[in-house]
Symmetry: C2
Subunit: 454 residues, 2 copies
Amino acid sequence: MKQQAYIDANKERFLDELFDLLRIPSISAQSAHKPDMVRCAEWLRESLLKAGAERAEVMPTEGNPVVYAERIIDPAKPTVLVYGHYDVMPVDPREEWRTEPFEPVVKDGRIWGRGADDDKGQLYMHAKAFETMVATETLPCNVKFMLEGEEEIGSASLYKWCADHKEMLAADVILVSDTSMLGMETPSITCGLRGIAYMQVEVQGPNKDLHSGLFGGAVANPANVLSKMIASLVDENGHITIPGFYDDVRLLTDEERTAFNSAPFDIERYKQNINIPDVAGEEGYSTMERTGVRPSLDVNGIWGGYTDEGTKTIIPAKASAKISMRLVPNQDHETISRLFSEHFKAIAPAGVTVKVEALHGGAPYVTPTDLPAYKAAEKAVEDTFGKKPLPFYSGGSIPIISGFEKILGIKSVLMGFGLDIDAIHSPNESYGLENFYKGISTIVKFYQYFAESK
Amino acid sequence: MKQQAYIDANKERFLDELFDLLRIPSISAQSAHKPDMVRCAEWLRESLLKAGAERAEVMPTEGNPVVYAERIIDPAKPTVLVYGHYDVMPVDPREEWRTEPFEPVVKDGRIWGRGADDDKGQLYMHAKAFETMVATETLPCNVKFMLEGEEEIGSASLYKWCADHKEMLAADVILVSDTSMLGMETPSITCGLRGIAYMQVEVQGPNKDLHSGLFGGAVANPANVLSKMIASLVDENGHITIPGFYDDVRLLTDEERTAFNSAPFDIERYKQNINIPDVAGEEGYSTMERTGVRPSLDVNGIWGGYTDEGTKTIIPAKASAKISMRLVPNQDHETISRLFSEHFKAIAPAGVTVKVEALHGGAPYVTPTDLPAYKAAEKAVEDTFGKKPLPFYSGGSIPIISGFEKILGIKSVLMGFGLDIDAIHSPNESYGLENFYKGISTIVKFYQYFAESK
């Protein structure tokens, strides 16, 4: 196969180029790195031009620029829109890194550095697969690239940018490598993402902190009240009690549940990894189902009153919490935010006043496993990894993916090659060399299968 | 009455002396003021000597010294042990003071400055009442003074010092002016103080913060669990659910309750003052009873997870709270701490581990209203204020008072002359000139009535 020969012949150069990309500290969360964002976008534009793009631009947004590139071989052929992001997470705590975060090195068969997996390593596989197909004259589809610089801070500018460039972005599928597989021996494709509704609540009692001796027992204590209100949101069976909360939840068929629960899952290892005595959750569902296909409600933060060392005898004037709910198809995050807000205010007892604010939200997303592009990805992964990949329902959220469907009307296939051990967002991020090279080969195969299916 | 004539003739000097005492910044909480503590103790020793003490000493403790003084007129006569404290609270927030905290001034009939009421103004009334009786040769009892310098930081050294000087401190009653009256038109004597058991709890889930998307719904969230555990500690009727919690609570008789609830109390003004829509508490009890004679449970502080601006999608590894219970006779704070601890651990669900720590405790205290010294105080206050004082059950705690009874076997009478408006512990502390002078007259009368009762 001439593509694989090309990849093998250019292995070292591919890695050298990725290292150049990794050396740019494109941290979107920190404004001091603004120039690095532009530098990184320019670097990618040139790289895609060299790889074979006929058009490549750094396009401004209200925030960091988007790199857009394309090669249209035949308007009658199917079009793949590649999505990725060139921004990376901050590196603190800096002292926990064993190597320089922006000076990548290879050790133990892995690439170490910020962005090695998320998402520079993964997006660069697409650039090099593209180059491979162009160079070997085997590109079977039209290709478009859309690489953003704000994924780690919420993709705020990309929604509008997509809406403004709908025609330019027209495609048959969006292909994304920004997720993980269950393991090298258990390849998987993420075909479900949960949505999210993130709320902040405040319970206000008296107009100032009160002496808990003089007033204790006669005045509603906002911290006690908040605890009681939060406690009531989930019942003893792990069901969320907000009226209407489950109305739009799609239930799995028995066959789907059986298939879902047949994925290999080691519960003892799961508990050990996070050091918990036992799992907990909604009754009647497995751990995989609880995170994959069922919604959840978690307090992400809670605070009120005196929290320093020692004692202070007060009834706090107010207490607050951040509470987020993970959503599944077909729950709508705006509806859920409204239901939460109405319910939370309704259960407030006399003696306090309650404020509720929706901080952010995103819709759940599912890739239908009978989608031609999903089937193509499945075959490509099976070719490269030797096993048919499992469909994996991740508990996490990537709000922009459902945004793409809403704005552009295009489904996404999440063919990611990361692993749990890659420590994305943490110190000592890494990415397997094998994952990088196998990823390139898999992407090349994806294009072939996808073109054939059309 | 020659004592009143003496007081009137020496009014200005009494106030000048108090001002000298108020100028010493004896803040026990701040180690920079250590020399001021000693200076203040020396000043009081000299003042008591001049007032007529036959013996006056600054006695060392493990912390700040105790000023001890006495005048024994006849071992066969009753002995009054005066307790007060010369240490004061810190002055921050400094910028909110309208005058210098340690440069007292008289304005609008009030003395303004830190310690004007708590407790320098109140303790100095005793020194001047003593001087008055000595000077007018009308002292009818033996008098002992015990003035400590650590009340505002928990009286830590006084317990041992009392135990070490039991014989020297022998007395028929301890007389204390360190509390308030309901009002000038509603004189009262504090005859009940609640005890306290102050706990800190921690609920630990996973060994690190988890991604709330990947794990949400499958792992016990310590912040949700803590909320549920706290919520369960008080039922919907305001009863505390800890098994055995009420076992030792003394119930009031119907007559006691009727008397108790006949004290004037304006619930609308109460709600307005602290700006709450409604009061709340244990069903079947009035607001005065809820704070005066019933125990309570309050969260004083709660914290866990992400509490800054914006959102962070985590399941916090742990969540904590400070929880204190106010206790009434005959609850024992050590028993209650133990019951709380056992119960809190027992209700922890699988999936978390729980730590409970008792931070501090103190016993409740009650002055029997048929005590001769209480009767003497009642008559003295009625003489000076024109109305029989109401027995008042304060919700607050002064742990050293029950300590005195335990260590020395002596009951205390809490004949305080402060008012709510004095803003003790706050900026712009003040004390009414009228309260100061009426206090001196009342104390003189107390000694007469108390001597007559014996």
